[in-house]
Symmetry: C2
Subunit: 481 residues, 2 copies
């Protein structure tokens, strides 16, 4: 049943490219209020397309911001229901002068299709829709039930995503999420994203006086807010870059041998990793660089400021200094507990005569973990092994994936990222591109993935996302560790 | 001979106030290019006044910026020649909404005359000019030779003062400088400023990568410019706030018992000093607060910044962080040597993988010291003891006085600050005022000071500013220590 679908998709390549071209020509920049009409144009184009391919209940789901585009197909009773996630908004194209081709006039150069949003993520979103279209056109059915959900605010931090999910909770009941966003690590080496670090944010400031003081009149006799914040910040890490906050890694599950083996199996060129960004390795002893960024929590200052920062000099003793920091947490941790530990450390290290204020705090996304025995992982593994000729390596992301956390929190389900963009495609930067060859790879991969997922009964997912799987190699203790 | 001058000045109070009022009405804001015509108006008023009171060679001395107003009187052969320093420019009046009376409409409320520039320093400049006028009007002569020099760029950092002094070096040959700027410490306790700390500026930055990195993708594996600059800054001071830079106080003359006694004699209310600005005491053990700010060198961060400092959060690992610092140095030190020590410390504490760059460096004013046996000090002591009924206490300033250093470097002479403004008069701030009673006190003090200085032969100064005095209590070793 799948081969005719694959043949159809192969033959449809010119039409697929034409439809992607039309979508890329719409400057749907969600951050720019002047682009509101373009955002609507993108929704109009996509809702028309969803109707055309045969979805029902097509429309916009509004949460008070840019609505999401929705459409569903539910003709596979007993089979799982998947939310197919993509987004139709793009980053601003500025700085325009850095583009070699106009950002909203898609330009093909060799295997590359240059346009804002080509890689992030109109290309992979189109791939997903085309596979659904092909199934319905060729066989009149899909292997699974589908709820297409195309967000319009991914690039502005999904401000109303939770509201949309809450408002349309019943309509969005699904067994799992399949995301066209979140790319491949490599075109030649298969990987499956099985988790991501969580995050949290903290901004604090110190005050040492009621006002800025003259460094001549007071210098040597009073505390200086910059000296104090420097001492506080310096106390957060040890000499190797390890976090020196008591209780910071409390709860963090120690990576087990299989995870360390999987991390080692990923073809990671540490020298190139650091050389590419002009940095040198620095971090917690006992772990390799890739382990440090995927399996261990981290704490980084994101910004710090105080006093006079303009041209020339101004001989002041600043009364106030501020810092923003973010934490990355791993499975087993809660950002609220970790941020509590950071707050306690700051208070414990704040000397008398210095006033510490927590300005703001965001308990961000929790770490996410996909069970290796989850049907999403099993199905993806089967597809990728066939496509690449070798079993995929499970990899965890160092970064957080907020939508994954939101889906887990609001819909109670797991997300598999199955995007086809690649790391070098200059997303968020000038001259963004998507590989045309990734379209052929992508539609084949997605067609096979839906086919594989259709072999599972819906009940496999319902057990799965509750935390315990029946599959023989499931280790349910991992999820509750 | 002096009593008729004092009587004349007492009787002239209404006229003096009227002339001060006219000067204060001119918004001579040197920092504001839109005020160029007002700057010229102030010069026109002052040159007219200098001619009116009988000075010769009256005119403007140009150094490429705002010219200084000049006039001289040289009818006292054998007597010293003094440069009478004041300035006719003022700080901007902004924020205007914070003024209770219009800043350029002088308003008398009780003993206070509110106006921008009243205290800094048109009030005391007027005092000096009125005394000269009275001497010439009443006796036809002054006790000393005079070169009036009214700067127009004091509030913008005297950018062309050195150029003016160089260009007009011959015309500005003097034995000493008497400054109307630099106020009294107290209305009830007599002090003489016998020195000031010098200063120097250094800006540096650290780089840890070629670009800003994503804290998710790199967090825990690379150095963070903010962590590194914090560690460097924290290393500059010890736990009590003492400077921890090797060689930092090299050359600093240890305060001798007489200086410590003089410092202790100054009625300094440490509790009030700190409470007034909401700060708490912190600094080098073994010294009191006032010793720390006048007799010991200091190092303060003036500004520090890096990474994301806008609203909300941005999960970046900054590649670059910057800091500005200033040093205060004391007698016996050179700012170049002290800044060398700071640079050496930073380099020694900068770990591998961190690039340190000295962005800019300003070897500022040297520390200045007036010999206690200098005729300026002896004359001022006599006057103040008579005025206050007790001998003045020599005090040193924690801040630097750039013009004092420039006069020393360019004209080779010492400066006595003999201003009559008081510390609470909100200079550089809204609602600046000058005490009307300070006009009567000031003209009496200045008349007596010129009279006392006229008792010295010019030769006493020429020896004096060379560093060795004949006076019995001179300790010439102090200056070369």
């Amino acid at each position: 049943m799948i081969q005719p679908v694959l043949d159809h998709l192969a033959a449809a390549q010119p039409a697929i490219l034409a439809r992607l071209d039309a979508l890329l020509r719409i400057p749907s920049v969600s951050a720019d209020p002047a682009r509101a009409a373009d955002m609507q144009a993108a929704r109009t184009l996509l809702t028309a397309r969803l109707r055309e391919i045969g979805l029902s209940n097509v429309g916009e789901l509004d949460g008070g911001g840019e609505p999401a585009v929705f459409g569903e197909w539910s003709g596979a009773p007993g089979r799982p229901t998947l939310l197919i996630y993509g987004h139709y908004d793009v980053q601003p194209a500025e700085p325009l002068e850095a583009w070699r081709t106009p950002p909203f006039e898609p330009t093909r150069i060799g295997d590359r299709l240059y346009a804002r949003g080509a890689s992030d993520v109109k290309g992979a979103t189109t791939v997903a829709l085309e596979v659904i279209a092909a199934y319905l056109a060729v066989t009149g059915a899909c292997p699974v039930n589908l709820k297409v959900f195309l967000e319009g605010e991914e690039e502005t931090g999904s401000p109303t995503l939770a509201a949309i999910l809450e408002r349309h909770r019943d309509r969005l009941a699904v067994d799992a999420v399949l995301s066209a966003d979140g790319g491949r690590a490599s075109a030649s080496f298969p990987t499956i994203n099985t988790g991501a670090r969580g995050s949290g944010l903290l901004e604090f400031r110190v005050r040492t006086a009621a006002k800025e003081l003259h460094s001549g009149r007071y210098g040597g006799s009073v505390r200086n807010a910059l000296h104090e914040i420097a001492a506080l910040v310096a106390s957060l890490h040890g000499p190797h870059g390890e976090v020196a906050v008591a209780g910071f890694d409390a709860g963090a599950r120690e990576p087990d041998p299989s995870e360390r083996a999987a991390t080692a199996a990923f073809p990671f060129d540490a020298d190139a990793f650091f050389a590419e960004v002009g940095a040198s390795p620095h971090g917690e002893p006992g772990y390799g660089a890739r382990e440090r960024i995927t399996l261990r929590p981290a704490l980084d200052l994101n910004g710090m400021w105080g006093g006079y920062t303009g041209p020339g000099g101004k001989t002041v003793i600043p009364d106030l200094a501020s810092a923003k920091l973010s934490v990355r947490i791993v499975e087993g941790q809660h950002s609220s507990v970790v941020l509590d530990a950071v707050e306690r450390h700051l208070r414990a290290h704040c000397p008398e005569g210095v006033e510490l204020e927590i300005v703001s705090r965001t308990d961000g996304a929790p770490a996410s973990t996909l069970d290796p025995a989850h049907p999403l992982v099993l199905a993806a593994s089967t597809v990728l092994e066939r496509e690449y000729g070798r079993p995929p390596v499970p990899v965890r992301l160092g970064a957080s994936v907020p939508i994954t956390a939101v889906f887990k929190a609001r819909l109670g389900v797991d997300t598999l990222m199955f995007g086809y963009n690649l790391p070098d495609e200059d997303v968020h930067a000038p001259n963004e591109f998507f590989r045309i060859s990734s379209i052929a790879d992508g539609v084949r991969g997605w067609a096979r993935l839906l086919d594989e997922l259709g072999r599972f009964p819906a009940s496999a997912f319902r057990t799965g996302h509750a935390g315990a799987l029946d599959a023989p190699d499931a280790s349910s203790d991992r999820r509750s560790a």
